[in-house]
């Protein structure tokens, strides 16, 4: 990890009707960094990710990728979206295409790659997530964990500068969660820049460079996993983690 800032998010605001979901969120992401967002449901974590790639355009605030403004970029947004990968809670694989074709599609249609080259790259990405043997299977034939790994391969194929993970394991049972988290851990280890919204505290503590605790539409507390575990000043984050633990009967 170096100090080169790849993504800058500045003062993002977003309301849905009277409901102000994001109330001024700012942070910088350095290349190779993994930032994990935790916090109670409904505090705007997923909306924040969608504001970054403009799937949900923010009401106010700006986003820069590699020094170029993503917000208000007009048609160029499609260029930025290639550079900002996204992985969804419910995978959103293209149901009518095989795993391989899911990964290939944007290479062919967005990047304009030739068939042979796209196929080779797609197979390579599937190998990265351990899914090359399932290349010819359709989404409905895959387990949730397998489907999520294919969707990670699909995001990787665009050679993104950063990948946004929106609760990637929330739809999975513990066993399948583990196989997806392992892939993500591997990516983090290889220097992929990642923003992860998750409730997996174990993952947050072992992989994150920084944990951001969101509450009521703002980043309430932020720090390294070590700080949040051992520094007494992080009271609200501790409360939240305590609530998760007690829910688990710890």
């Amino acid at each position: 990890m170096n100090n080169d800032i790849v993504l800058r998010v500045e003062d993002i605001h977003k309301s849905f009707g009277d409901n102000e979901v994001l109330r001024g969120v700012s942070f910088d992401v350095r290349r190779g960094e993994t930032k994990v967002f935790i916090g109670p449901s409904g505090t705007g974590k997923s909306t924040l990710l969608r504001c970054i790639n403009q799937l949900t355009p923010p009401d106010r605030g700006r986003v820069w990728l590699d020094g170029e403004e993503v917000t208000n970029s007009g048609a160029r947004i499609n260029y930025f979206r290639q550079k900002i990968g996204m992985v969804f809670q419910n995978f959103f694989l293209f149901d009518h295409l095989t795993a391989l074709k899911n990964v290939e599609l944007a290479l062919l249609k967005v990047r304009g790659m030739g068939k042979a080259e796209a196929r080779e790259k797609a197979l390579n990405e599937l190998r990265q997530v351990g899914m090359e043997d399932w290349a010819d299977h359709y989404p409905a034939e895959l387990s949730g964990g397998q489907a999520q790994r294919v969707s990670i391969a699909r995001a990787l194929a665009m050679d993104p500068d950063v990948i946004l993970f929106d609760e990637p394991t929330s739809a999975l049972d513990p066993e399948l969660t583990r196989e997806v988290l392992e892939v993500m851990k591997k990516l983090a280890g290889e220097g992929m820049t990642m923003l992860v919204v998750t409730h997996e505290m174990g993952f947050a503590c072992s992989v994150a460079n920084e944990v951001l605790f969101m509450e009521n539409g703002v980043v309430a507390e932020q720090g390294t996993p070590d700080q949040l575990l051992h520094d007494p000043q992080y009271t609200r984050m501790k409360d939240f983690i305590g609530r998760i633990d007690s829910r688990l009967g710890d």
């Binding site: 790639n53 799937l55 499609n78 260029y79 930025f80 979206r81 290639q82 990968g85 996204m86 969804f88 419910n90 959103f92 694989l93 293209f94 149901d95 009518h96 599609l105 944007a106 249609k109 967005v110 299977h137 359709y138 989404p139 409905a140 034939e141 969707s151 699909r154 995001a155 665009m158």
Partner: protein, 228 residues
Amino acid sequence: MDLAAFTFDILLPALMQGLIITLQLIACSAPFGLAFGIAIAVGRQYGGGAISWLCKTFVFLIKGTPLLLLLFILYFGFPAIGITFTAFTASVVGFILCNAAYNAEYIRGALISIKDGQMIAAQALGMTRWQAIRHVVLPQALRRAIPGLSNEFIYLIKYSSLAYMITVIELSGAGKLVATKYFLYTESFAAVGIVYLVLVTITTVAVNILEKRVAIPGTTRGTTAAQL
């Protein structure tokens, strides 16, 4: 003249000629009816503003008026504004408009049924809205629209007989001419009915084969009952 001689020497040759016209009407109408139907459904669902309103109004007008009226306007009315169609062309134009309007509704229903996540995921990869529709949403929606579209195709086979009302001697018209000339109504119309039944049966079988071929593996349609 006995019935066999009437059937084989007079009725069947006449019906064969009519059948050829009927098949020509269908072949000229169905592909455009499908293409325009897709365009109208997409325009209404994704066009926004004026385009959406235009598509909606077109469907409303076609759905709200008898096809026969449309044929009369095209064939008898249009010459008054300087557009003269042959009876065959007027029929084809009418069938395309009618077919497209109803197809559009089947396709729109299927488009709505595709979950938003498909479009969101496509756009997140950098696809334009149009690319997402073209490569992700439509291929799935068209599969789901097949039962409705095939129904509409079967209607087309049958309402192609309305062309007779503007002087096109297609299958029904050919039957009518023979029937009135020889006063053998039941025999003639029964034979016509059998030919339509055969056409519809062929269509039904073909659609079943098509549905199986394009079914997505792992989904209900793509799994045989025995596997479920």
